[in-house]
């Protein structure tokens, strides 16, 4: 587990990418991990084709939750919202690149949970024929 705290993880923790809020965000979600108090918010600007044009995240918490969300934010830009909603845990694990103990899995997955929830919430608001795209 101490191997987890690699240079690039600490770099994302201390200099999170795409950190802040987004004016004119069209999809937003926020959640917390009550066990740790980790908190993550994702904001997307989605273009008419359903593609994530811009992304910001904000929050506070452990290095694992914040670095994981920061790396995820880089993955999300340019993705189709429908694909964001279908992202699986492996994407996040590949991002962070290191094994996580079961106790900390919730920390590392919090960003993914919030991003998917923002995507699903936005898709649910679309007219029915577009939801399958």
């Amino acid at each position: 587990m101490d191997d987890f705290y690699k240079e690039y993880i600490l770099d994302h923790y201390r200099q999170p990418r795409n950190f802040g809020s987004l004016e004119g965000a069209t999809a937003v979600a926020e959640d917390l991990n009550p066990l740790c108090g980790d908190r993550i918010r994702f904001e997307f600007k989605v273009d008419p084709n359903g593609v994530v044009e811009d992304v910001r995240f904000s929050g506070r918490g452990c290095a694992i939750s914040q670095a994981s969300a920061s790396m995820l934010s880089e993955t999300l830009r340019g993705m189709k919202l429908a694909d964001v909603a279908r992202l699986d845990k492996q994407t996040v694990l590949d991002n962070v690149g290191i094994g996580i103990s079961p106790a900390r899995l919730k920390c590392v997955m919090l960003g993914l949970k919030v991003a998917k929830s923002a995507a699903l919430g936005e898709i649910a608001g679309w007219p029915e024929e577009e939801q399958s795209t």
Binding site: M1, F4, Y5, C36, G37, R60, G61, C62, R104
Partner: protein, 418 residues
Amino acid sequence: MTSLAPADAKASRVQLDFPILRKPTSRGRRLVYLDSAATSQKPQAVIDALVRYYSEYNANIHRGVYEIAELATEAFEEARAKVARFVNAAHPAEIVWTRNATEAINLVSHSWGLEHLHPGDAIVATQLEHHSNLVPWQLLAKRTGAELRFIPVDERGVHVLDNLDRLLDGAKLLALSHVSNTLGTIAPLERLVDAAHRAGALVLVDGAQSVPHFSVDVRALDLDFMAVSGHKMLGPTGIGFLYGKRTLLEAMPPFLTGGDMIRSVAYTQTDFNQIPWKFEAGTSNVADAIGLGAAIDYLNELGMDWVRAHEVRLTAYALERLVELAERGLAVYGPPGAEPRAGVISFNLGDIHAHDLASILDTDGICIRAGHHCTMPLMERMGWPATARASFYIYNTEADVDALIESLQKAAKIFKLA
């Protein structure tokens, strides 16, 4: 660091009584258990008491006429008497078995609280409370129209008593933790109980963090209720108790109802049993009550004065050594020094989140708690997103503190703290 002082030698002997402390971690490290405020480890004597009950005289109590049922009943009631003596209750009938301190508090809030609180009355707690001594009162206040007030604490987590009499004006109940599980603050009970009683309020003390660690005399302190968990004082999980003054318990209606808590039952009407059984519906947790009795025997053997002296000494040593990490950004919270606190130290190291710290320490076999410690309002009031917490008990030694410091140094290095 230092030579083994006599008290530490005793703690080293105590360690041998705890099988879990002799078992290496999966990484082959010695287990350094610094989370006794969450739950304590169990000595062999307690484990043996459980095994003996289940393998030699397991039977239901208060009903069987055969030998092992009588043995079980006797051991169960003897454990209650041990608890009564341990906290100096006037009579074993003043000890009601519960699952834990939480259930004991809920018993009082439902049974006593719903009968006695009315709109305009006040319940007074402190800003230090664990959720277990807060949420029941929030619900009770909502159900009865009573007002919930809080005795404030300062930046060190020490009670501020400037407006005490005003806060207690109109109060029916003062419900407070004897020791803060987050900061270790010991409440000035003599003064608080006196002020509450003068205001006409009863006092409920959450003794979950005090009774395991120093001698608590409910009669000398003139407490009306006290809630305690067995698993934090070497006992099994799932057993705890409520102390209540006899006159109060006798006047209170039952909480949970069913078998065992009755004297006679007709289809439409029931006469309840006398205290304490009036509050013990259904088959009790016989094995764990007996286990808690064995835990109390073990603590009495050590002597609660030694337990307290050992923890003060160890806490003082830890506070002294933690100063070495000050230049790396270590912040220690809670009352100044070891004397005004129990063996609990909350801290943060630089910008390392407490959970990351706990993960790094875990790889060295060191168990600490990280997070909000079930005191979210306190964390909010202090402006801490989370803290790391080390807590000590009878089996901890200076070597454990040294291991903690060494591992914190390692964490500082991993996070490149100046």
